[in-house]
C-alpha cells in the first residue's frame, strides 16, 4: 500500500450471515468482516487484504511475546471489557446467530470452533475437536504446503506456509519443551515454536514461517459463508 490514504471503518449496525458488517467512512460502502469484501455501495466487489492474526489467551500470547503491547482498556468511563458480554451465547450450543440460523451442515455441531482460511479459491476448515487429536497437520491447499498447529491447553490454532526460502519443510509431531510447544523440521533438524512459527534452535534459528491469515469461527458461520469449504478431519 503505498499510495493514497487508508480508509477507515465504522460499525454499520447491520449483520450479514450472522456477522459484522462494517461501513467505510469515505464512501459509505458496506463490508463483510469475514470475507473482507465490499458487498454494497460504490466499492462493491473490492476486497481488503487479510492480515494474519492469532486467537489465543492473554497468558499464552504474553508468554510467546513478552514485549507485546495491549490495546488500552482505559476509557473516560473507566476500564471497559472486564468480562465476556457474550458468554451466554458462547456457552449455548443451540443458539446459532441472533436470528436462529440453521446449521447448514450437521457433520459438525454448529458451535464447534474451526480454524478457517482461504487460499486461492479454496476454503478450508480445521475443527478444534480434530486438532485436539492431531495437533499438527501438514496439508496442501491450492498447491501451497501448509501447516496447522494447535495447543489444546490454550485452544489456540495457527496456520503457516511450510515454504522457507527454497525449501518445503516437513515437521515431526509437536512436543512440550520448557513450557513451549515445539516441533522439529526433518530437513535441518531445527526446532521451532509451534504457535509462532519461529525457529529457536538449529541452522534455521531465527527464521519465521509465514503465518497465513486465518480465523477462528463457529462451524455454522464458516459453512454459511463458504458452502463449498473443504473440511479436514483427523484420521482415527
Amino acid at each position: 500500500m503505498q499510495q493514497g490514504k487508508p480508509i477507515t471503518f465504522g460499525v454499520s449496525g447491520r449483520l450479514w450471515k450472522d456477522a459484522l458488517v462494517m461501513y467505510d467512512r469515505e464512501t459509505g460502502s458496506l463490508w463483510s468482516h469475514v470475507t473482507g469484501g465490499a458487498i454494497v455501495g460504490p466499492l462493491k466487489g473490492q476486497t481488503l487484504t487479510p492480515y494474519p492474526a492469532s486467537h489465543t489467551t492473554w497468558k499464552q500470547w504474553r508468554r510467546l511475546h513478552p514485549d507485546t503491547l495491549l490495546l488500552s482498556k482505559q476509557t473516560a468511563l473507566g476500564v471497559k471489557g472486564t468480562h465476556n458480554a457474550y458468554q451466554g451465547y458462547f456457552d449455548d450450543p443451540e443458539r446459532l446467530g441472533i436470528f436462529g440460523t440453521r446449521n447448514p451442515d450437521t457433520v459438525l455441531p454448529g458451535k464447534e470452533f474451526v480454524l478457517g482460511f482461504s487460499l486461492g479459491n479454496t476454503h478450508v476448515a480445521y475443527p478444534y475437536r480434530d486438532l485436539n487429536r492431531q495437533p499438527l497437520v501438514q496439508d496442501v491447499v491450492s498447491g501451497e504446503p501448509i501447516l496447522v498447529t494447535f495447543s489444546a491447553k490454550e485452544a489456540t490454532a495457527v496456520a503457516f506456509s511450510r515454504r522457507v526460502g527454497e525449501r518445503v519443510l516437513e515437521f515431526s509431531k509437536v512436543r512440550e519443551a520448557g513450557g513451549d510447544l515445539v516441533m522439529d523440521d526433518q530437513q535441518t533438524g531445527s526446532t521451532w515454536q509451534a504457535l509462532t512459527g519461529t525457529a529457536i534452535q538449529g541452522t534455521l534459528s531465527g527464521s519465521r514461517l509465514h503465518q497465513l491469515p486465518a480465523t477462528r469461527a463457529f462451524w455454522f458461520a464458516w459453512k454459511g459463508f463458504y458452502p463449498q469449504t473443504r473440511l479436514w478431519r483427523a484420521s482415527r
Binding site: 500500500m1 499510495q3 493514497g4 487508508p6 477507515t8 471503518f9 465504522g10 460499525v11 449496525g13 447491520r14 449483520l15 450479514w16 450472522d18 456477522a19 459484522l20 458488517v21 461501513y23 458496506l30 463490508w31 468482516h33 454494497v40 473490492q46 476486497t47 481488503l48 487484504t49 487479510p50 492480515y51 492474526a53 492469532s54 486467537h55 489465543t56 489467551t57 492473554w58 497468558k59 500470547w61 504474553r62 511475546h65 514485549d67 507485546t68 503491547l69 495491549l70 490495546l71 482498556k73 471497559k80 471489557g81 472486564t82 468480562h83 465476556n84 458480554a85 457474550y86 451465547y89 458462547f90 441472533i98 436470528f99 440460523t101 491469515p213 477462528r216 463457529f218 454459511g224 459463508f225
Partner: protein, 112 residues
C-alpha cells in the same frame, strides 16, 4: 479510472476476519427490516450506525500494565509483524468491534 484508484487505496488495507457469527446477539428483539439481499442472504439492521463505537485512535499499554486489567485466560487477538507485537482483548472488542489501527506503516482494521 475510479476503480483503479480505489484499488491502490485498498491494497494495504487489512481486515482481520474474526467471525464468530455472534455480534450483537443480545439485540435480537430490536431487529429491523433488512435492506438488501446479497448472495442470497439479507443484510439485517439490528442497531443504528455507530451505536457501537469503533476505536479510531487506539492507545496501547505495556504487557506489565496489561496484567493489571487482563485475566490470564482472557481471549485476545494478537498480531506481530516481527518488530511490533500487539494484543486486543476480545472482551473489550465486544464493545467496539473495530479498531482502526496500524502495524508499522501498514493501516489495518482489527475487527471482531
Amino acid at each position: 479510472m475510479l476503480r483503479r484508484t480505489w484499488n491502490w487505496l485498498l491494497v494495504g488495507l487489512v481486515a482481520f476476519a474474526a467471525s464468530e457469527g455472534s455480534s450483537g446477539l443480545a439485540l435480537a428483539e430490536r431487529a429491523g427490516p433488512f435492506t438488501e439481499i446479497v448472495d442470497g442472504s439479507p443484510i439485517m439492521t439490528v442497531l443504528p450506525k455507530d451505536a457501537i463505537p469503533a476505536i479510531d485512535s487506539p492507545k496501547f499499554v505495556s504487557a506489565t500494565e496489561g496484567d493489571r486489567v487482563m485475566q490470564p485466560e482472557e481471549p485476545v487477538l494478537g498480531v506481530s509483524d516481527g518488530n511490533m507485537t500487539k494484543a486486543y482483548s476480545l472482551w473489550q472488542l465486544n464493545h467496539h468491534e473495530i479498531v482502526n489501527d496500524r502495524t508499522g506503516s501498514l493501516p489495518i482494521a482489527v475487527t471482531w
